[in-house]
């Protein structure tokens, strides 16, 4: 319980919406990012993955177009899929549109922020900034906690 509170507080404090001053934004200023977490990496050769929920609290649809982070040179939204034969595969998910009042969850086994070409190891207990870019030009940066390699969700 203590742990849970700590993470949600951290998120509330660290969540920043960039580009608020730009008057042309349509939607991304109403984006809320929740339940962000990632797993620690072994070194930098293996790609990392981060998970979060993007909630659109506004009246306009928003489209998530890309990711940026100093942690990885090639961050990209991916989707894992398991077909009817039980075979899992992973591919770039492309742009993701979130309708007003809806949210999209990046969760294990589905959508994930794939962190390719890590610039440094992901160390348990640390955090890293991840910037979500939207089609209206807005950017939302969230600080993502790094949990253990065997973590199952935002609470560990």
């Amino acid at each position: 319980m203590v742990k849970k509170l700590r993470y949600s507080n951290a998120l509330a404090v660290l969540l920043t919406v960039a580009g608020l001053s730009a008057p042309a934004l349509a939607g991304s200023e109403d984006v809320v990012v929740e339940n962000a977490w990632s797993r620690a990496s072994i070194g930098v050769n293996r790609p990392g993955a981060a998970y979060l929920t993007v909630r659109n609290t506004g009246e306009d649809a928003v489209t998530l177009t890309g990711l940026a982070t100093p942690l990885a040179m090639m961050p990209e939204i991916h989707e894992s899929k398991t077909n009817s034969d039980g075979v899992s595969s992973m591919a770039p998910a492309g742009e993701i549109t979130i309708e007003p009042g809806q949210s999209v969850a990046l969760e294990p086994g589905g959508l994930h922020a794939m962190l390719m070409k890590l610039q440094e190891p992901m160390t348990e207990g640390e955090t890293f900034p991840l910037t979500l870019t939207f089609s209206d030009g807005g950017k939302v940066t969230v600080e993502i906690p790094i949990l253990g390699i065997a973590a199952r969700g935002p609470e560990g």
Partner: protein
């Protein structure tokens, strides 16, 4: 997914229907259309491959006979599905408590080029201590996958690297090495743990 499970139950049933210890299960879960014979995992006793575990021991399918067994395929450069499967399995094992020590749990890599014995040792060390990591020459991995009717494929990524598509189901065998059932990727724990208990129970019943 539901239909596939029924099909798999059917396949498992076809192989062991004669065993009285399976009758109770058969009645509960019911028969269904059998899966084509070529597609169901072989009994462990009919498989033939030679691999090395993460501690450098020579291992093969015969290593697993005598205790209930869970096997799954993956690779350590897999950022999403494989750590999720490993942490799910770790959670199931925790829930089983002391019983977990009676099960073989094996993670076979489909990416032996990167997953050396050392890499497997480091990786499995982050999960439940019962989990063993097996690797070996590509041809032996292929023979193992064939026995389980699992598939894997190397897929290039934009960054110049590659990822692996692979069967993500968890195979569950009884102590005699007969397939009991499969646990599909992301099956809720409410379903997975009873399935594992069933494999354990069969072991107990089979011993009496």
């Amino acid at each position: 997914m539901q239909r596939r499970q029924l099909v798999l139950y059917g396949a498992a049933g076809a192989g062991v229907l004669g065993l009285t210890l399976f009758v109770g299960w058969w009645r509960v879960d019911g028969p269904s259309a059998p899966k084509p014979a070529g597609q169901r995992p072989l009994p462990l006793s009919a498989m033939d491959f030679r691999l090395t575990d993460h501690e450098g021991n020579e291992v093969g399918p015969e290593t697993l006979i005598g205790r209930p067994t869970m096997v799954f395929f993956g690779f350590t450069y897999c950022p999403d599905v494989c750590p999720t499967t490993l942490s799910d399995i770790s959670g199931w094992l925790e829930e089983l408590g002391d019983e977990a020590a009676q099960i073989n749990v094996v993670f076979i890599t489909v990416d032996p080029a990167r997953d050396t014995v050392e890499a497997m040792a480091e990786y499995v060390g982050y999960f439940h201590p019962v989990i063993r990591g097996w690797t070996g020459p590509e041809d032996q991995i292929a023979r193992a996958a064939e026995g389980f009717r699992a598939s894997f494929e190397r897929v290039p990524t934009e960054g110049g690297g590659y990822t692996m598509n692979h069967t993500a189901s968890v195979f569950l065998f009884d102590a005699e090495g007969e397939l009991v059932t499969m646990i599909d990727y992301h099956e809720p724990r409410e379903f997975a743990v009873p399935k594992i208990r069933r494999a354990l129970t069969e072991d107990v019943e089979g011993a009496t």
